[in-house]
Symmetry: C2
Subunit: 203 residues, 2 copies
């Protein structure tokens, strides 16, 4: 394909191709799960997925595209998990903090995978704009789900959600790089989530 639109698939993709794409994604996730970003070597991904290098590049035009797609995939799983156990918390902000804290604890068990995804996401340039936007839309959707609010969110709330999202990503990156401890990450997420409450009782 390459670009992954939510609604309008640019080209249908046969069953075979869908399977190939899934195989590549899971090979990427596997390698990322060991050594992190650096360990995801395109030749190895191609080998593990049993496709030629050129084919890999036809599906994902760069390593960053691939890993951002892996992240999108993981977010879908996260969302499913969350649905099966809804967030706890008295206020929307607390529920968001609960969900993100849970996601953080899940990634603590897969730090290498987290490293690969976060580095790819923050390193992405204009060429991966569409993929990154897909990840952002998903993240925003997960966070908005967590608030438990319905109806069109206001601009103020959306801004707060973006702040929360940025905090989540860079806190995680800081923890992965050994520059912050886990408590600090959870604290900062909770801090950012106060903005969600501030923006909730509309205007």
């Amino acid at each position: 394909m390459p670009t992954q639109h939510t609604k309008a698939p640019p080209s249908p993709l046969t069953e075979r191709q869908e399977a190939r794409r899934a195989g590549i994604l899971s090979a990427g996730a596997l390698l990322a799960g060991r050594g992190g970003f650096d360990a995801v070597q395109m030749r190895e991904v191609a080998g593990a997925a049993e496709v030629a290098l050129g084919t890999l590049y036809r599906y994902f035009p760069s390593k960053v595209h691939l890993l951002v797609a892996v992240m999108e995939d993981q977010l879908h799983r996260l969302r499913a998990q969350i649905r099966s156990r809804p967030p706890a918390g008295a206020t929307p902000g607390e529920r968001v903090a609960d969900v993100l804290g849970r996601a953080f604890r899940a990634l603590r068990r897969e730090p290498q995978l987290a490293d690969a995804m976060v580095r790819a996401l923050t390193f992405a340039d204009r060429s991966a704009c569409a993929q990154v936007e897909a990840v952002e839309r998903l993240t925003v959707a997960i966070v908005l789900d967590a608030t438990g609010l319905h109806g069109e969110p206001g601009g103020e709330l959306l801004s707060a959600v973006r702040v929360v999202e940025h905090t989540w990503v860079l806190s995680l990156a800081a923890w992965l790089a050994g520059r912050a401890d886990a408590d600090q990450v959870e604290t900062d997420i909770a801090t950012a989530c106060r903005l969600v409450d501030a923006a909730c009782p509309p205007h």
Copy 2:
């Protein structure tokens, strides 16, 4: 050098070496100013700074180290500029927003340089931990300066400052990648800065 400690220089660095280091930094900033991260090619940096490739790597053990050091350099300049024209705003949070908004507008005129610095900063791994921490300390100092507050900042305020910092960096990255417009960046920075006010009138 490589590692840049604030207090204890690991090895003194002769005048000649200091000049070489500065030359490399300015060559790096120059190349970054055109083409951004990708245009900073280590061979070209070495050529422009008139040092051998091996020497460049002795001073900065990787491209990321180099560009993070360039960022540190730019932050020093920003801090000097800010001192010459103190931030405006009624509350600490507004003053922080003013300073960061000013910094953002400055970088809008040098988007390629900003691209190189931001990508390097967010892509840095454990090996550049010390350099990134230097940048973080500087950023935090600039933000705390802007609040106008004195004395030891509380943990709550520090957490708010980190949230602001993360928002600042990733908003800028989103703008650079064409995923957000300038208004959105300023809005989100202002949103995050509310946390500073919330944390200021101590607990």
